[in-house]
Amino acid sequence: MTKDVKSKPAKAPRSGQTRRSFLQTALAGGAAATTAYFGITHNAFAKASGPIVIGHQCELTGGFSSWGYWHDKCAQAAVKVINEGGGIAGRKVELAVADTESNPAAGARKLRSLIQRQKASFVVGSVHSGIMLASIPIATELKTPYFSAGEATEATGSKGSRYSFRTGTDTYALAAAGVPWAMENLGKNWTMIFPDYAWGHSHHQEHRKLIEAAGGKVNDPIAVPLGTKDLVPYLARIPEETEVLFSVFFGALSVAFYTQSKSMRLDEKMKMYSVSGTIEAIDPRDINGATEGVYFLENFPRPLEFKNDEYHAKFIEMMGVDPVYAKDDKSGKVMAKSHAWQSYENFFALKAAIEASGWQSDKDTPGVIEALEGLKMENSLAHPQGTKILRAEDHSGMIDCYMSRVEDSKFVLKKHIPREDLMAKLPPRYDFRTHKL
C-alpha cells in the first residue's frame, strides 16, 4: 500500500559554480536520468503484469473525517478480501490512499498525484460533493475511471462524463425514493431548510419538483449559511401550517439543527424528515434524543435486522461494528454506513469489469468503462448493500432504499423501497455513452 508522501524541501540554489560542483551536478543528473529511464521501463512492464494500483481519495482529516475513517476502512477491507481471493485477474491490488483534508482544492490536487505519480489506473473517489465535482474533470482529462460517493446529482448529471460513476444515490434518486411515501404518510405542506450550498439547493430543487407534481405545497425555502451557530432566526421563519419539515444539514450544523428545533418543540408541531447524510456517523444516543421521531431515508439500514442476511452480517463483522447501532464500541465511532459501503463495493465492481474486459494496462481502460456500463451486481459478500445495477446511460447506481424512523434512539424500518420502484420513477436524464472514450 502506498500513501501520499511529501517531498523534501529543495535547498536554496548556490550562486557560485565551480568545475567540481558542475561535474557533480552533471554526474548526478546523468544518474537520475538513467534511473528514471529504468523506472519508466519498469513501470510500463509493471502495468501489464504487476499489481493493479487503485487509488482511494478520501477524507482522513478535516470536517468529513468522521465519514472518511469508514471509507478508508471499507477500502482497506475490500482490497484485503480481493487479494486473499487471488486478486483481480490474478494480479494483486495495490491501494494508494490520498487524504483530501476535506478540502476541494487539496482533493483535486491529490487526485492528480494519485493518477500521475502513484500511477493509479482507477480511482474510488470522495464522498464530499465539492471534492467529487472538482475531481471529475481531472479524472476525465486523465482518462481514469472515477467513482463518486457524494450525493450532488451533477456527478452523474450535468458535470458527469464517460469516466464518472456512482453506485450510490444522488439527490435525484433520494427525492424519487422518499417523496412518494412521505407525501402519503407525513403530509403535503412542506418547508425545506438546508445549508446554503450546492448539496442543499440540489435537494431542494429535486424534492420541490416531485412534491409539486404530486399536488403538495412547498413553502419558501430556508437556506442557512454554513457555519451558523444560532439557528433561531431561521427556525422562526418556518410557517405554522408546515406539516413536513425537510432538513438536509451535515455534521455539526445537523446536530445544532436537531438540538435547536427540538428545544423549540418543532417536532411536536410537524413531522421531521431528512436523508441519512444528516445523521451519518452519529449515534442518536450521543445527542440525547435530539433526533427522536425523525424519519430518515437510508441507503443501507443501520441495524442488521432490517436486511438480515449473511453478507450484511459478515460485512458489519469486518467493520467491527455492532448489529444495532453500527458502532465500534472500542473507539466509539459510528459507521457512516449509508455511504461508506460504496468505498467497499466499488472495488468489486472494478474487479468484475476488469476481469470481464480483459484489461491489462491503461490502454485497455475503455473496455472497463464499457463493462461498467450496465453492470449488474448481485447481493453477495462483494455487494452487501444488496443487488444493484449501474445504469448504462447515466452511470448511476440503482439500489434499494429504506425509510426509517428513530425510535428509542434506534433506527426502525418503516418502508423498504425496492430499486425497481425507484427506477420506474427515475428516468435517466443523461446518456454518457454518446461521449467518445
Binding site: K229, P233, A236, S263, D286
Partner: protein, 285 residues
C-alpha cells in the same frame, strides 16, 4: 411585531454570549498585541472540556467551575511556550496562533473524535415568548454571561492584579520600573483570555454543538465585535457584540437572515470607514 421583538431579544442573548468570548480576544490583543487566530479554538476546547466533565460526572454545573480553571492553566502553558517567544512581533503572532489553531483542532479530533456531540442543557424547559417557544436555558446563559463579564470588570478595576494588568497595558516600561511583574501579568492576561473563551464554550455548548471545528465559525463574529468596539477596548467589545447581534436579530425578522448577516458586515465596513479605530475609540485602549 412579535417576531421583531423575539428575534431582537434572541440577538441580545446571543450577543452576550459572544461578548464573553470576544472579551478574551480583546484582552489578549489589548495587552499583548497578539492577533489571536486560535481564539475560536479556545472556545472549542471549552465546549469539549465541558462535554468531558458532563460525560464523566453527569453534572453539568461542575463544568462551570472546572472548565475555566482548566482553561486558565492551558492558557498559561500556551503563553509560556507559544506566545512569549514571539512577543512584540504581530506578524509572527498570526502565523503562530494559526499553527496553534491547527494543533488544537487536530488534537481534539484525534482524542475526542470527529463526530459532533450534543451537550444537554441543564434547564430543558421552554417558555412561550413573543410567538416562539424559547429555551429557558438561553435566558440563563445570557444572565450568566452578564455575571461573568461583570465579575471580570470588577476584577480589572477592584483588585491589585487587575490594576497591574491595566498599568502594564498602559505603559509596560513604567509599570516594570514600578516593580510590577510584567512577565507574570502577560501570562495571567493570556490565561484569563483563554479562561473566558472556555467559559463561553461551557455556556454556549448546550446551544451549539461540541466538535473539533466549533471555533472556526465563531471567530469572525468575535473579530467583528472587537473591531467595531475598538481594538483592545474592552467595554467597546462587549457593547459592539451585543449591538451587532441585536442588529442582526432585528434585521432577520424583516429580511432573510443571510441578508441580515450581510447587513452587519456592511455595518462593520461603514464603521471602519468612518471610525477606523472603532465606535468606542474615544475610550482607553
Amino acid at each position: 411585531m412579535e417576531l421583531v421583538i423575539a428575534l431582537g431579544m434572541n440577538g441580545i442573548v446571543w450577543g452576550l454570549i459572544i461578548a464573553l468570548i470576544a472579551l478574551g480576544l480583546s484582552i489578549i490583543f489589548g495587552l499583548l498585541d497578539i492577533i489571536n487566530i486560535a481564539h475560536g479554538d479556545f472556545f472549542m476546547v471549552g465546549t469539549v472540556l465541558a462535554w468531558f466533565v458532563f460525560d464523566t460526572t453527569g453534572n453539568y454545573w461542575l463544568a462551570f467551575a472546572i472548565v475555566p480553571i482548566l482553561g486558565f492553566a492551558i492558557g498559561a502553558v500556551i503563553e509560556y511556550t507559544v506566545i512569549q517567544p514571539i512577543k512584540n512581533a504581530a506578524a509572527l503572532s498570526i502565523v503562530a496562533t494559526f499553527g496553534l489553531s491547527i494543533i488544537l483542532q487536530e488534537s481534539v479530533r484525534a482524542t475526542f473524535g470527529a463526530t459532533p456531540a450534543r451537550l444537554t442543557a441543564p434547564i430543558e424547559e421552554t417558555v412561550p415568548l413573543f410567538g416562539l417557544e424559547y429555551e429557558v436555558y438561553r435566558l440563563f446563559a445570557a444572565l450568566l454571561s452578564i455575571a461573568a463579564i461583570g465579575c471580570f470588570f470588577l476584577f480589572l478595576h477592584r483588585t491589585k492584579l487587575g490594576t497591574w494588568m491595566r498599568a502594564v497595558r498602559f505603559d509596560p516600561e513604567t509599570a516594570t520600573a514600578m516593580g510590577i511583574p510584567a512577565r507574570r501579568v502577560y501570562m495571567v492576561t493570556f490565561a484569563i483570555g483563554f479562561a473566558m473563551a472556555s467559559l463561553g464554550g461551557v455556556v454556549a455548548g448546550p446551544i451549539t454543538t461540541v466538535d473539533f471545528q466549533a471555533g472556526v465559525d465563531i471567530l469572525p463574529f468575535c473579530f467583528m465585535a472587537v473591531i467595531i468596539g475598538g481594538l483592545g477596548n474592552l467595554e467597546g467589545t462587549v457593547a459592539a457584540a451585543v449591538m451587532l447581534a441585536f442588529f442582526e436579530g432585528v434585521m432577520a425578522s424583516f429580511v432573510d437572515p443571510t441578508l441580515a448577516r450581510i447587513g452587519s458586515l456592511c455595518l462593520m465596513s461603514a464603521v471602519l470607514l468612518v471610525r477606523p479605530h472603532g465606535i468606542f475609540s474615544g475610550s482607553t485602549r
